[in-house]
Amino acid sequence: MALLEVRDLRVAFNTPDGVLEAVRGLSFDVDRGSTLAIVGESGSGKSVATQTITGLTSGARVSGSARFDGTELIGASSEVLRTIRGARIGMIFQDPLSSLHPYYTVGWQIVEMIRAHDRSVSTAAARRRAADLLGVVGIPHARTRIDDYPHQFSGGMRQRVMIAMAMALDPVLLIADEPTTALDVTVQAQVLAVMRRLQEDFGTAIILITHDLGVVAEMSDEVVVMYAGSAMERAARRTLFYANHHPYSEGLLGSLPARGGARDRLTPILGVPPSLIGLPAGCPFAPRCPYAFARCWSETPPLRMVFDDPAHTSACWLTTVLGDRESLRAARVQRELDQPRASTPAPRVEVGP
């Protein structure tokens, strides 16, 4: 049994403009000790999904199920969630400065965290544990720096403090939401190395939320690609990069500056992501998909197995015969040429109105 089983998770928010469906039927599993990367662009619902699982989206309309180690989290009472959050599921966020309290020393905050979950631990023991943790995540002079305030640490060091705090109670699952997005590349490499080592030493499962496909390639075991609130494709790491099925995955990888070919034109995904308010039927990616055909506009494709690989699912009506794609692409290009959209300017149109 997987450590975390999420089934048909739906999250919607009421906004002045209508109901915003941030997550629309998301399902995934996380196995013990493995890393699942959830990748997607801004607004794809990747952060909302994990925040909902840990009960951090108040005011949202939530349905579906998320079973964590046998406990249902969706609809669980705040007492139940409080015993799980922090203790069994650790969390790190993108911006470590706004996640740490500026008025308290980092040591105080870690001690507070440990003792909030177990009052039987003495403050002195918790402090020793906090110092050890800071050492483990690679903060030099941990025993003196424990009394420093968050602003006295650099960005990379602050993220290490966050990791130390998230790992304080030996969680079995760590949710890392864009943990290195705010960091420089050399510091990012340090933080990723710390996460990798902690996973090896403690067997923690990790959900890594990111938009950076490079980080996915380096860190993950499995990958879920999200778009407009639902999973487009789920596959093992190498499968996703070398034998993906969904046109959105293909498009994401295609729009990266290639290693080598300088100054060649990139192949961006045309258009912009859809609004999540009143999304029409059919595949949400159809308006930007180079292969879209009639069925894509009328029926929403479910995640289904592709290439006879039980670990590889894709929400796309395309067959697995890749040769068919070229004729579909040609057909779509022909259609666009036949009926140019009225409001588009003549040269170099890449963004629709």
Binding site: E41, P140, Q190, A217, E218, A262, R265, P268, I269, P353
Partner: protein
């Protein structure tokens, strides 16, 4: 050999740091320190480096948005270092900028047509109907719908806003466009659209670009030459292929190795150099070579003397490196260990991520 379009020589820019209850200027931070760099007409020079290395300050000095502390800026054969506002206005037609934040760099209360039309109005080159036609032509050129002339910036997506910024920069047909992290705030699929647009426009209008970014994969894709900055200094400059094939400076190599590659097999097999420590603070830069506190190859002479930026190991003049112990081809930097007299690098706590970990209590490097 023709003259470069832009040349800066010995450029230094320092800012005062004030502290204490009377906000007295107590120190100086050298954001750019003695930089000499050239940009040839028609080329794209990539400028890379981490947060706080001075790359944006250097660009702003080149555009004379900042007054330089010392050094000279030559543009198109003319010394523009000390031109006054009026004289600068003429030069500004030829030097334009595109900024990182497509939200912050457009006035939210003005219509797009007015924003893009501003350069024409300021320089008095078009009015009335002609102005509107010119603006709409520009909008079509950058892939915006000319009918959206009367919309506000908030009605556009991030990628489209960046197109507005590009249109405004191109309005007066500049010679040099300084792009300061133009795609960093955009999602990958949109990022590719803007990169394509910039490359197409360069071909169409024979533009020269200074392309500033921290993203090495982007800079590699667009640049003819790349300059790498570390703590206010240029440490290596080379034509793009040479920088990647014969990397000389250990910092450049570390930067390249830290970049996550979207290719699992390569990610698993390649050399990984994880630098220890953070960027030192530019108010009090390390002695000698500024990279010595984090460099795996640091030796005693690196602490003592600052290396000059010059070709090393038989490289061409196009490829200068500021390093006492440059890398040879195929050298494995991950095996190197620094050899410096203790004091600086001793660390009594557990430091699992490599040997030297300089610390700065209170060091704010970001």
């Amino acid at each position: 050999m023709t003259e470069p379009l832009l040349r800066v020589e010995g450029l230094t820019k320092s800012f005062p740091v004030s502290s204490g209850s009377w906000r007295r200027d107590t120190a100086k931070v050298h954001a750019v320190d003695d930089v000499t760099l050239e940009i040839d007409a028609g080329e794209t020079l990539g400028l890379v480096g981490e947060t706080g290395c001075g790359k944006s300050t250097l660009a702003r000095c080149m555009a004379r948005l900042y007054d330089v502390t010392s050094g000279t800026v030559w543009f198109d054969g003319r010394d523009i270092t000390h031109l006054d506002r009026r004289e600068m206005r003429v030069v500004r037609r030829d030097v334009q900028m595109i900024f990182q934040d497509p939200y912050g760099s457009l006035n939210p209360r003005r219509r797009v047509g007015a924003i893009i039309g501003d350069p024409f109005v300021i320089h008095g080159t078009a009015t009335g109907r002609e102005l509107k036609t010119k603006v709409q032509d520009l909008m079509a050129t950058v892939g915006l719908n000319p009918e959206h002339y009367n919309r506000f910036p908030a009605e556009f997506s991030g990628g489209q806003r960046q197109r507005i910024g590009v249109a405004r920069a191109l309005a007066l047909r500049p010679k040099l466009v300084i792009c300061d992290e133009p795609v960093s705030a955009l999602d990958v699929s949109i990022q590719a659209q803007i990169i394509n647009l910039l490359i197409d426009l360069q071909d169409e209008f024979s533009l020269t670009y200074l392309f500033i970014t921290h993203d090495l994969s982007v800079v590699r894709h667009v640049s003819d030459r790349i300059a790498v900055m570390y703590l206010a200094k240029v440490v290596e400059t080379a034509p793009t292929p040479a920088l990647f094939s014969t990397t000389r400076h250990p910092y450049t190599r570390a930067l390249l190795s830290a970049l996550p590659v979207p290719d699992p097999d390569l990610a698993d097999s390649r050399e990984q150099i994880v630098l220890s420590g953070d960027l030192p603070t530019p108010t009090d830069p390390p002695s000698g070579c500024r990279f010595h506190t984090r460099c795996p190859k640091a030796r005693q002479d690196c602490v003592a003397t600052e290396p000059a930026l010059r070709p090393v190991l038989g490289d061409t003049v196009e490829h200068p490196t500021a390093c006492h112990h440059p890398l040879t081809i195929g050298e494995d930097l991950s095996l190197a260990r620094p050899h410096i007299d203790a004091a600086q690098t001793v660390d009594d706590d557990a430091v699992p991520l490599g040997a030297a970990a300089p610390t700065e209590p209170g060091g704010e490097s970001r």
